[in-house]
């Protein structure tokens, strides 16, 4: 049942799934809100239980996927098929996202005000990119469509991403200027720490204290930098991470056991 199928059976599976999902959605839409809530809670509980049991139950050496030396229990072989459900949901969600974008920008383009040009640009780039990319991935794709696909993806999109990423350097400078202004005891401490860490990171900074004899090497700027990072920074980060982990466990338990309140959970 969990193995991929081919040929006529594939079409039967797809058609059957579509009919099943349509029937399921029709039944769900007729149900009262309280019943929907119980269905959501039951599915959440069962889904969570599967992953919790798979994680906590004792394991033994077994073949998992293509790995003959993996560890697992009787639930482990079902992890991959369960995970395969997610891309299907994701694909449907992308469709919804695109519909949302088309609705929003369609309205704006029709308004014909100053912002309409941005919405028209959206339609041109979205449809253009999709058309070129689909054409370039065909088995009989022409060299022109392949070249266009490469220009749009590698030449335009990736470089635009890189441009946005590189802008961060300027934002870091302006944010650091504000953060390091000496206005209080904390800001002064932050500034002093930042100077030590930055100097310890670069060769010229390390040269400043290179003359200090080895017996006093704890005064070398790179040693102080390491001490700050490993003895102050790392424990603080780990403490935050522990708090976050426990917080995440608590929220997960509330959702899993149906104790949560708010959207989808109240009657």
């Amino acid at each position: 049942m969990l193995e991929p199928v081919k040929g006529g059976l594939w079409y039967a599976y797809v058609l059957g799934s579509l009919i099943l999902v349509a029937a399921l959605l029709a039944v769900l839409s007729l149900l009262p809100r309280r019943a929907k809530r119980y269905i959501v809670m039951t599915v959440t509980l069962l889904g969570g239980l599967f992953y919790a049991l798979e994680f906590f139950l004792p394991t033994h050496p077994m073949m998992v996927g293509d790995d003959p030396n993996a560890d697992g229990n009787f639930l482990t072989p079902f992890i991959v098929p369960m995970a395969n459900v997610l891309p299907a949901i994701s694909a449907c969600a992308v469709g919804l996202g695109v519909i949302n974008l088309f609705q929003l920008h369609g309205k704006r383009a029709l308004k014909r005000n100053a912002d309409s040009i941005n919405s028209i640009a959206f339609f041109v780039s979205c449809i253009g990119m999709a058309a070129v990319w689909i054409a370039s991935k065909q088995p009989q794709a022409s060299p022109l469509s392949k070249a266009l696909g490469k220009i749009l993806f590698e030449g335009a999109l990736q470089n635009l991403d890189a441009t946005m990423f590189s802008i961060i350097a300027f934002y870091i400078t302006s944010a650091a200027y504000r953060a390091f202004r000496v206005r209080s005891m904390e800001a002064t401490l932050l500034l002093a720490t930042a100077i030590i860490v930055m100097l310890g990171q670069i060769t010229i900074g390390q040269l400043l204290t290179a003359w200090i004899p080895p017996r006093y090497d704890f005064l070398h700027v790179e040693v102080i930098r390491n001490w700050i990072l490993t003895k102050i920074n790392a424990p603080a980060t780990r403490a935050i991470a522990i708090g976050l982990g426990i917080g995440s466990l608590a929220v997960g338990l509330r959702i899993w056991l149906g104790l949560e309140r708010g959207s989808y959970f109240d009657e």
């Binding site: 998992v64 994701s90 919804l96 944010a175 917080g247 929220v251």
Partner: protein, 262 residues
């Protein structure tokens, strides 16, 4: 596949029982949690947006692996509170969505927030918008919305990566009052540098309890604190055991460490 170590098999269920027990206890008795400045400032930020007549931008982040995640749902829970507050003053809130899987959930949560305040007509479907699920394209889009709409307040909750500073600095440039909260420890310094208020660490997960004062969530926070106390004691005892056994040449420290790693 990763599986539980001996320590995890014992401790995680134990902690879960503690948290659930305190949640059930909190339903019968009032519990107290301390003031969180960043969350108290939400009303101030909404007030600023109302006074200036400019919109607010509320984002729920990129998520850790994408899709529907606890981190993003928590951010949505905070955003729902912000929208309920803003609905009372008819202040516009724009919610840009990164992950298409979160779009329907976000639309529903925002619509319900307006309905809860008795203002369902204020819900504008154009204000909950899916932008893109590419990191820097999303950052550019949010920065563009902040600049074009001259946002009076920005609320940056959820999981962020390098794009955090792009959004926060753009908010700062338009003079928006900014409140951020993220479990991403690498982005906390950037938010601290660029935002007015930052919610750090497990305050992020305490936010919805603090804002709603709902007994279940308050109980969850107190349960978390008890578990953290337990972990603190475990860390101190563990440090002592490992140090003393290393000094004495005993194997007890190794056995103690293996309890958590194997």
């Amino acid at each position: 596949m990763e599986h539980a170590t001996t320590g995890a098999r014992i401790l995680i269920p134990l902690w879960s029982v503690i948290i659930v027990a305190v949640i059930l206890f909190a339903r019968k008795k009032d519990l107290f949690i301390r003031r969180i400045q960043g969350l108290s400032a939400i009303d101030e930020a909404v007030g600023r947006a109302t006074e200036t007549g400019r919109p607010m931008i509320c984002t729920t982040g990129l998520g850790i692996d994408g899709g529907v995640e606890i981190v993003t749902l928590q951010a949505l829970s905070i955003v729902s509170y912000i929208i309920r507050t803003s609905a009372r003053f008819a202040t516009r809130a724009i919610v840009p969505v990164f992950d298409p899987q979160m779009l329907a959930i976000t639309e529903e949560a925002v619509r319900e927030s307006y309905a809860q305040e008795g203002r369902p007509e204020q819900y504008n479907s154009d204000d909950v918008r899916f932008l893109t699920n590419r990191q820097f394209a999303y950052a550019a889009s949010v920065a563009g919305i902040i600049a074009r709409e001259k946002a009076a307040a920005t609320f940056l909750f959820g999981y962020y990566y390098a794009e955090a500073l792009i959004m926060a600095e753009n908010g700062h440039q338009v003079g928006a009052i900014q409140i951020a909260g993220t479990p991403a420890t690498t982005q906390i310094p950037f938010f601290i540098a660029a935002c007015d208020y930052v919610i750090i660490g497990d305050e992020y997960y305490a936010a919805s309890a603090y804002l709603s004062r709902e007994p279940t969530q308050l109980g969850s926070i107190v349960g978390q604190d008890i578990v953290k106390g337990f972990i603190l004691i475990l860390a101190l005892v563990g440090s002592a055991i490992v140090s003393v056994s290393a000094f004495a040449g005993s194997a007890t420290g190794t056995l103690f460490t293996q309890f958590f790693t194997k």
